[in-house]
């Protein structure tokens, strides 16, 4: 388990870094975000880490430090590309938990998203439920602007 786990962990970091760089290339995106920025900028695979991995779910438990702290990472591979990442903290003491939180903040990753019909969901939480009064007013303003 450990050798394979290590390889996958390396691939994970490689892809995160590549994705982060890709996300930075469009400097205008900070002021005018668009759908394509998120959905198309992500590389579907990391060329430098392309390897003969079988599709499927992989999990790894990374241990560190002297207090038996560990963090769990589960990923799904499809065509050598990581499609999901699931991170589980195992920290039992405050210090480790705080460190793990900081780790997550240090490695922001590009989110690609998936078609809503391709994911089994009970509910959705986001922006789509905008107040009716707001939407009506916005439509009116748009109509006036174009008319």
């Amino acid at each position: 388990m450990s050798a394979l786990s290590k390889k996958i962990a390396t691939a994970l970091v490689g892809i995160s870094v590549t994705a982060a760089i890709a996300g930075c290339t469009d400097t205008d995106s900070a002021s005018s975000p668009s759908a394509s920025n998120i959905t198309s900028a992500a590389p579907s695979r990391s060329p430098s880490n392309r390897g003969p991995y079988e599709d499927g779910e992989y999990t790894v438990d990374g241990e560190y430090g002297t207090r038996g702290s560990s963090i769990g990472v589960a990923i799904t591979l499809e065509d050598d590309a990581i499609t999901t990442v699931d991170v589980t903290p195992h920290a039992t003491d405050e210090t480790s938990l705080a460190l793990q939180r900081r780790f997550a903040e240090a490695v922001p990753t590009l989110v690609v998203g998936r078609d809503i019909d391709a994911v089994r969901l009970d509910r959705v939480a986001g922006n789509s439920h905008t107040p009716a009064g707001f939407n009506d007013a916005l439509e009116k303003i748009k109509a006036e602007a174009s008319g």
């Binding site: 996300g23 999901t84 991170v87 989110v111 009970d122 509910r123 439920h129 107040p131």
Partner: protein
Amino acid sequence: MSPMKPGTKEPSASAVLGRSEAGGSRFDFDALGTRWQIETDEPLSPDLRSRILDRIEQFDATYSRFRPDSLVSRIATAPDGGRFEFPEDSLALFSLYDRLHAATDGAVDPLVGRELELLGYDSVYSLTPAPDEVRAAERARGRASWAGDVRRDGRSVVTNRPLVIDVGAVGKGYLVDLLSAILREAGHTDFVVDGSGDLRHVAERAIRVGLEHPFDPRRVIGVAHLRAQALCASGTSRRAWGDGLHHVLDARTGVPVREVVATWVMADEAALADGLATALFFTEARRLAESFEFTYVRVRSDGRAEFSPDFTGELFT
């Protein structure tokens, strides 16, 4: 997250009891200007449904800045301020605002209501920013702050000038909590209260909640596994009215934030999750974690996401 909307005089007119896809019972209604759902294993009794709608009406009559007859509208129009008596529910609401105000160094502030008005997010939805001279005159008077311009004495709020209170950062989540408490007291042990994306889940089995893509409602960026907690979402991309104008303002500057486009927070209570979802637009999660227990996902305007490793769910990266 959303500022309070005009209340409907007869909320029951649009309230519908039906079946949910999962085979349970579903109660749909309008509240605070958006569509709500309560999903339960057993149908809500007619008495419970009317208590829920009455509770919403009572909340709206106090806190909606979109209703001329509400308590906050009276405060907004009192030329020299005054002493105003709030209901019991204000104690928890305002004390959460105190904590959020402190933890964000003043970025979260109910008095941001006046700034929203100046940008056009007013009670008639003019969506037209006030003229420069009006805003300049306002600046000259000094910006009011929750810590400096509002004195509280139990349920009383004391002001000395017109102040626009907007409980948008916390109010919807708080109402989700209040309705959840009513359901619990009535003996319900398996339900979801969904205030248009601000959720509270009470049941043994976790539900899967899609995290809507900030710029494409046909996509999700991940799935949260929600069990016996609250999940609240906040975003700027949809409720925007042009040229960088949207409804999440830093109260210290009155300027809409640009660095963050969407947030999701899981916490034990929806009021807290809702407030933190707003706070994360201004303040680093690390800092907020010093004062609050929560997990989160935050999408920045460059399309990158930060998340807490203990966020139960998946992100599609």
